[in-house]
Subunit: 259 residues, 2 copies
């Protein structure tokens, strides 16, 4: 099962920390790759996964995409057990989504990619069919605008809960899905967990977006006892001592798990 690669890494380093490699203050290929290498080399002992948001690379055009490729290749070479996520939030009609699937899973070679569910099943199908890879679907994001449509009521339930239900009952047939559930309101995590007891969560929003870490971790544990992956970006990247910050997050997550 494709999630086994993630679980093996979580076990190996005893960490549920995911670091968002979103270099906000670099502006060319060599800056991007040296920044990422520096962060990776000092934080990897505390880290289950790295999440690379494509926006920060595309902002530098094709040389940014080269930095994305280089960083992925570097991780594979130097630290092969690390789980790599492309935070791309893609989706398109099936004929086109199939290209994105190849772009991320085969060409770039990441383990998982984030996906936007709005266009429905056939838009995500090329990703879902890959049993060797993980599809991470937006369940409810942590930004203010999520109130516009994710929270819109549909037949007594907010849209986001219908998305979570669809993933749990249909799209996760191959047990290769995860859900993004933002941490800014921990009750969302508990509600999502009730609807999708076994789908692992990726939880952003505990760093710069200030979600409650301990409550989020506890609410995010699956019915079979697996803790959620907690993403921190700016809280580590902008820290004067990224390794110390990563270690602190790793420990805080593990403490919350044991409460």
């Amino acid at each position: 099962m494709s999630l086994n690669r993630l679980y093996a890494r979580v076990h190996e380093v005893n960490s549920l920390l995911c670091i968002g490699l979103d270099p906000a203050h670099t502006s060319n290929f060599s800056d991007l790759i040296s920044f990422n290498r520096r962060i990776i080399d000092v934080t990897h002992p505390y880290t289950a996964a790295y999440k690379l948001n494509t926006a920060f690379y595309e902002a530098e055009g094709s040389s940014g995409w080269r930095a994305l490729e280089y960083t992925t290749a570097y991780l594979r070479e130097a630290y092969p057990s690390i789980f790599i996520i492309a935070d791309a939030k893609r989706s398109d009609i099936a004929h086109t989504s199939e290209r994105y699937m190849r772009a991320f899973f085969d060409r770039l070679g990441v383990d998982a990619v984030t996906l936007n569910p709005l266009m429905g099943h056939d838009a995500l199908a090329p990703f879902l069919e890959r049993e060797d890879k993980v599809s991470i679907i937006l369940g409810r994001t942590s930004n203010p605008g999520a109130a516009d449509f994710f929270d819109m009521m549909t037949d007594g339930h907010p849209l986001w809960q219908r998305i979570v239900e669809k993933v749990a009952t249909e799209w996760d047939a191959r047990r290769n899905c995860m859900l993004v559930i933002g941490a800014t309101e921990p009750q969302h995590i508990a509600q999502a967990r009730a609807i999708a007891p076994y789908v692992p969560f990726l939880i952003p929003g505990v760093g710069a977006q200030r979600g409650d870490l301990a409550a989020s971790v506890q609410a995010g544990i699956t019915a079979d006892g697996r803790g959620p992956l907690i993403n921190v970006g700016r809280g580590i990247l902008s820290h004067s001592a990224p390794a110390a910050a990563a270690l602190r997050y790793q420990m805080a997550i593990n403490e919350a798990l044991q409460r």
Copy 2:
């Protein structure tokens, strides 16, 4: 107004045709750019806009992104009045969306980009704030999976109509928005037009996806008399004579307008 660039080109060539430059049978930088140049050089007299779907370029990694950059630069140089759309369907939290905005509007330098509305206002705000550029928001797509969430009923109306309403009444405050409304069911176009009388539409799905061209064109005319942009991809790219196919689409659209 940012849409004036589009209207000027529509007027110049008397065409509402948009060609989707989605090279499906190429596999490296030089194939991609020579394919695109060949299509552009023979079809531009009949064409208001070219739409480049990022999936087909990302499938070739950073060299694909170079082909995207090269094709955009070639269009700017050789045929400067042509309107260029990046079909990227992006969205992310504001801090990240701002990077995508820069990537497409400044770095790549296209006139318009397609956006996924699910994450709500702040996710799109960096794009909407650019008065010199056009934000093309997914209103209702033409794929089968659109039934999953776009058609979900929210307070008596399908979600997609709430999205169209939000664009018309709030997000289009700078008159720089367009909406993607799929052509596979022309009544969607008429319904969207009733909710958003002045927002121009980009209509995909009339080529390989076989929507009814004439009905779509007529239903898509704005309250101030502007016809919709009609996107055709495979119907022209896979044709043995792309120029003749483009001319035929241009004429069919114009005939439908005059009925």
